[in-house]
């Protein structure tokens, strides 16, 4: 099972390595991890995507809570939520890509943000699946470089973490 875990923690040096260290020490896997300061500069928010059954998830949440700098932990996947992954991708279409790039960009509602004589750089955001589908549309050899943020998320409605 895939889980998206939101962690609010003190914005202190070392806090990130405590979290990543916890995952490697205890053999929990990380699919992606994003972190940045929140509107309160003393706090950071981290979004971690991990996989495991319910017991693994329970341990992840408990172990995260045990870290002294962690203020709040929440499993977004257990509630109604919005998740987004952002990708910048550099593409050089080949003959196999016999579609109109402009049209494809419209279908996926993304943006071409940079163009050269042989490359396009495209910005796309959305659920992980959508981004994967966008990449799948291309011949693998046309994709030169990919940079993704990993998933970030927030709960729907008035509910706060």
């Amino acid at each position: 099972m895939r889980h998206i875990i939101s962690v609010v923690l003190e914005n202190e040096t070392g806090a990130l390595s405590r979290v990543s260290g916890l995952f490697s020490q205890r053999g929990f896997n990380i699919e992606s991890l994003t972190v940045a300061q929140t509107n309160d500069p003393s706090l950071s928010r981290m979004t971690i995507v991990s996989t495991g059954d319910d017991r693994v998830l329970e341990q992840i949440v408990k172990q995260l809570n045990k870290l002294i700098e962690v203020v709040k932990v929440s499993d977004l996947t257990s509630q109604d939520h919005i998740e987004r992954d952002l990708m910048l991708v550099k593409i050089s279409p080949t003959k196999k890509d016999n579609f109109d790039l402009k049209q494809l960009v419209d279908v996926f509602s993304c943006k071409i943000v940079d163009v050269t004589d042989s490359t396009y750089t495209i910005e796309i955001s959305g659920k992980t699946k959508k981004i994967n589908a966008f990449l799948d549309a291309f011949d693998p050899t046309s994709i030169l470089e990919v940079s993704r943020t990993g998933v970030t998320g927030i709960s729907r409605g008035k509910k706060l973490i």
């Binding site: 923690l9 070392g14 390595s17 260290g21 020490q25 017991r55 341990q59 408990k62 002294i68 962690v70």
Partner: protein, 577 residues
Amino acid sequence: MKLNGAEILIDCLQKEGVEHIFGYPGGATLHIYDALEAQEEIIHVLVRHEQGAAHAADGYARTNGKPGVVLVTSGPGITNAVTGIATANMDSIPMVVISGQVPSPLIGNDAFQEVDAVGITRSCVKHNFLIKDISEVAITVKKAFHIATTGRPGPVVIDIPKDVTINQMELEEYPETVKMRSYKPTTKASNRQIKKASELIANSQRPILYSGGGSVIGNASKELREFTRLLGFPITQTLMGLGAYPGTDELSIGMLGMHGTYEANMAMHDSDCVVAIGARFDDRITGNLAKFCPSAKFIHIDIDPSQISKNVVADIPIVGQTKQVLQALIEELKDEKLEDISKWWSQINTWREVDSLAYKKKPGVIKPQTVIEILYEVTKGEAIVTSDVGQHQMWAAQYYLFDEPRRWINSGGLGTMGFGLPAAMGAKIAMPDKDVVCVTGEGSIQMMLQELSTMLQYKTPVKIVNLNNRYLGMVRQWQEFFYEKRYAMSYMDALPDFVKLAESYGHVGILVEKEADLKPALIESLKQKDRTVFVDIITDPNENVFPMIPAGGAHCDMLLAGRDDMVSKDETDFNAV
């Protein structure tokens, strides 16, 4: 008044009520030592190795419940202490370790004696800090003691760069309390869980109480006694929990787990209701998880939520302090009518009759079990016993019946050879009026021997009972059982003359080779109140620890003494070591 960072640090420690520091100086801590020297409130014990400092502070903390304090220098100072810190962490011992660090501007430059202390210790502490500015010294010390001693206790490292100890600022009021939005350990259990647990307890027919280190660390011994006697349930204790409930009491059915008694393990296996009190279902306790307590429901009381349902799913989890939870359960169950469990007790008593700790004496050799039995007799069961790691540790746990908590001091979680001697020194400093005995083996004792020198300097007379079997006995035992007697590197050749060795350190040494000399030697050692006495006892090299659950086995698959034929090679799971 302006003080430098070192003086502020010492002032904070005094205000925390610190009376003893175990440490070793170096370049990065020179200012701190200078400030220590200028005062008299705190006594500094100069160990001979930083690992010894951490174990001594640990033994001190386990004995009197106060946090142990360690002071080491940067680089090799802190790396030497790591084993001791990890030992304390595994057994939830409150400890504050202050390590010097190279001056802030040099951090990250591979400076002389620089290591990333915070990085190296991260995974074996409850928390750690790097102080960046002198203004953070007081609040960091306050937080460190708060974190180390509350919730589930543990070691906290404070890394202080040298320039922070040199810089000056006005002394500010030391904070009385500290509030942290990210750290609020639960203390009081939920009423609903208490009610549910009480119901299950009252309706159980084959109940067992399984108490661990949390009953000792949580100072819940009194409540545990009251609770157990109120229910009249059998109680088994882990290696870490021994003494919270009196080992000589009728309701006590001994230690459980890999080397637990037959009755304790069989009762666990057949129980329908296991009440775990401050215990964490460690693999040395459960054996093969798939075969563990097949018909039991579990009530799990622990201060640390992450321990609950980690290895064994709890039917009724209760997060809270053992003391408070037991009080609440007593209140709830006081007037409750319980099931009649006399049948259960008669079953347990037939298991008791197996007498799983019986052993055969052999003429001409001293059995290690006999040593512990006589030690128990001559100390009237009242000594503080520290131990190293190996067979001797298991025999001490099995044959010395602890009637009080904080009398049995051993490295249960990490299993650190070398722990026993410095821990005994720390225990003696914490309780100068008690007899302190270190039960050790010729292998373990050689890992921290140098502390004999510290023990002379600080006059901490302890009795060292060396079960000298000329083997890394626990390793030899596994090789005998599971590696077809291929004794790879478990024989200790070229042992020192321990009597002369003790004497050269200024202590008393006694060699015991005959059983007849054993009791007089132990009595003599205890008579020498103000001397450390090293009693080197030549024991049976081939003796094994029984009962034993081989790795991968269930509680009902115990090997008993004198029944070596029961060992079947293929049922053992080598990966489960």
